[in-house]
Symmetry: C2
Subunit: 405 residues, 2 copies
């Protein structure tokens, strides 16, 4: 149930044929999956978001940033099948209309609703279908509706992505839930990623806006490379206070505990995106320590996790660690080749400026596990980070994977 795991949250979904109507269909196709979701809190939330850095933004992003300023959000409406991006003035009207239709059904003001869309760019939303879907989703809100919502927001995803966690704050059990969509493909960052983390924590107003960027940097931004994102990427965190804990204020141990719980759910979701990469068979986890800074460690880890040549080598079971060193080299992070220590599944493959004798069969076996751990110690400072990717298959692999063998 994920986003409806925290107290005071319900969700509903509906099938309204948005992708089909966008492409010109005249009726909902049979077997149409749900493509519209509404997530609702029984009281206003503290809320914050991180959005795409693309200069071309979906109308929904602009509307959401406006609505979040009032900080009394109580519902999220999300459609798949049409991104409502590059749609000019009509796009803004349609995004606002989605908020208004949802608000009307739930007895809210439109600024209490945030809106997300994912799908094809450059086509107007089929608003008749959207209107029908919003009515149906709002009519079906339940505490068990989180799973349906997670399915409704999927596009090329092969599995719904959900996560939950609990944390004790002020003697009270606080719950966290989350869902996301997005496929970690060759350019993971170019397919829209939508992610929502809900909680029943009580927090001081504005608390979430102080931590949301850090949570994104430690999770979704390590699958989706900064500055290279789709028109619609969105990550929202909402906390409604239903747990009844003393409101969490920034700079306290409780704030740290809550941030850690939100980060844990966000990281779990980010890893699920990498694992569900298009055509992927393995999760690649890249750990970097000893970076000159945390930001540099994040850059280095991302470069390795998103390198097509590393991905194909791993898919092909080819222990070609040279490609990992190459990716670290172009990551932009400071690198002193003689201080670098590189290991794959705990086996040191590179140190003191050159390759080390290693049991290549053991490396190859490590590459064949469902999760592959690559670790780089840069030997420069205290910065550390993780990033996640997946392997790459098919023709590209046939050309590259056997390069050293």
């Amino acid at each position: 149930m994920a986003v409806t795991f925290p107290r005071g949250w319900r969700a509903g979904s509906a099938a309204c044929g948005i992708k089909a109507f966008t492409a010109g269909a005249s009726a909902i196709p049979s077997g149409q999956k749900d493509d519209l979701a509404v997530v609702f809190s029984d009281r206003p939330c503290d809320a914050a978001g991180v959005f795409t850095t693309n200069k071309v933004k979906s109308a929904t992003i602009v509307i959401d940033q406006l609505h979040l300023r009032q900080n009394r959000v109580q519902a999220v409406v999300i459609n798949s099948g049409n991104a409502n991006a590059c749609t000019g003035a009509q796009g803004y009207k349609d995004a606002l209309q989605m908020a208004k239709l949802t608000a009307d059904r739930l007895d809210l003001d439109p600024p209490q609703v945030v809106v997300s869309s994912t799908g094809v760019i450059g086509r107007y939303l089929p608003m008749d279908a959207v209107k029908t879907g919003i009515a149906a989703a709002c009519a079906s809100l339940t505490e068990a509706g989180g799973e349906g919502a997670a399915k409704a927001i999927m596009t090329t995803d092969t599995v719904p992505k959900q996560s939950t966690g609990v944390v004790q704050i002020g003697g009270v059990e606080v719950r966290v839930g989350g869902m996301c969509k997005g496929s970690g493909m060759i350019h993971p960052n170019m397919a829209t990623m939508l992610a929502y983390v809900t909680s029943d924590a009580a927090v001081e107003p504005g608390f979430l806006s102080q931590i949301v960027k850090r949570v994104a940097d430690g999770s979704f931004n390590q699958v989706t490379v900064d500055g290279d994102s789709s028109t619609n990427d969105s990550f929202l965190v909402l906390a409604n206070g239903a747990a009844g804990n003393p409101p969490v204020a920034a700079g306290t141990p409780e704030a740290e505990a809550l941030e850690a719980a939100l980060l844990a759910v966000a990281r779990d979701l980010a890893r699920q995106i990498a694992r569900d990469g298009e055509g992927a068979t393995r999760l690649i986890t890249v750990g970097v320590s000893g970076g000159a800074s945390s930001e540099e460690a994040r850059m280095a880890a991302r470069a390795v996790a998103s390198s097509s040549l590393v991905k194909t080598a791993i898919h092909g079971g080819d222990p070609n660690w040279g490609r990992i060193v190459c990716a670290l080299g172009y990551s932009g992070a400071e690198l002193a080749i003689d201080r670098l220590e590189l290991s794959i599944a705990g086996l040191t493959v590179f140190s003191r400026g050159a390759g080390q004798p290693v049991d290549l069969d053991a490396v190859r076996a490590a590459f064949e596990q469902p999760e592959i751990l690559i670790h780089a110690e840069l030997g420069l400072g205290e910065g550390s980070a993780e990033a996640w990717g997946c392997d790459l298959s098919e023709e590209y692999v046939r050309i590259n994977a056997d390069y050293t063998t």
Copy 2:
């Protein structure tokens, strides 16, 4: 004959089994293709290079930068099958030894030889094989040897890449020739690109070092993204003066004419790299005009040409121009969506902030040509640029190409 088209240039090549010996073979495989080339000028050249920005550099790059400082280069030795990168102190010894072995055969000093390697990272060069190859290549130098050299430097390339041009300077016909290797794959920038442009122009000493970066920016850097390059990427320009023209000095009309001729050959080679992309069936040429600056226009054009989603849409014949707008949006270049005019094969698909009515069948037909022209007018300034890419096929395509249909 390409690199041996200008006067005073010869080339030779040999098969010495470098890839096989690197992988542990004990003899040259039968049918081994040539994998070592020597290009030789009968007199010292003005020479300049642009090299990888990767922090992990092949030993050859470091040696070349040293040798170019003396500016009396007369020969280039190149091997495929082993990149001599991440090879520590031994790598430097081996690269120097390649220069020395070549110099000895050609009666030069070692600093008169520049060295390139391409192939697997992290393995020591099999120097016995290299030594045999250098002797054989130097013994086979001919004026017709350019084609053999272009083949010897290939790795995953499916065709040798060569180009020639002529230009009148001071009443004299000056010749330019070039060869390169590199496959414009999903991440074009991650496979090593080696490129060599030779000329018989006479130039003032140091002239080429003043223009080489501009030539690279208008050609190879528009296939290979800056800052994201392999350990070995190299582009060298060498002019030996055999044409007998009055030496070209910077800032003169003759300098402009020569730079244009060098750029034309470099651009032709760059386009060949894109066209030979792994699995590619079409060349994509992206023109950008009206950029806030030339550098921004280059960034915008590169982003579109290297977008996997644009590449798959084109492969699938899917006129999904939204993906082009999205790529422009994350390129980093300034973009005012209401000023953008986008055309595919001359058909306007986007202007005034929204998609335009267009004959989708005509767009689809344009996508099916061997070369697809995409043009974006940004409406911001005077910056213009071109970039080249190729389409993307296989599973990734099956998932993405039909997204709007």
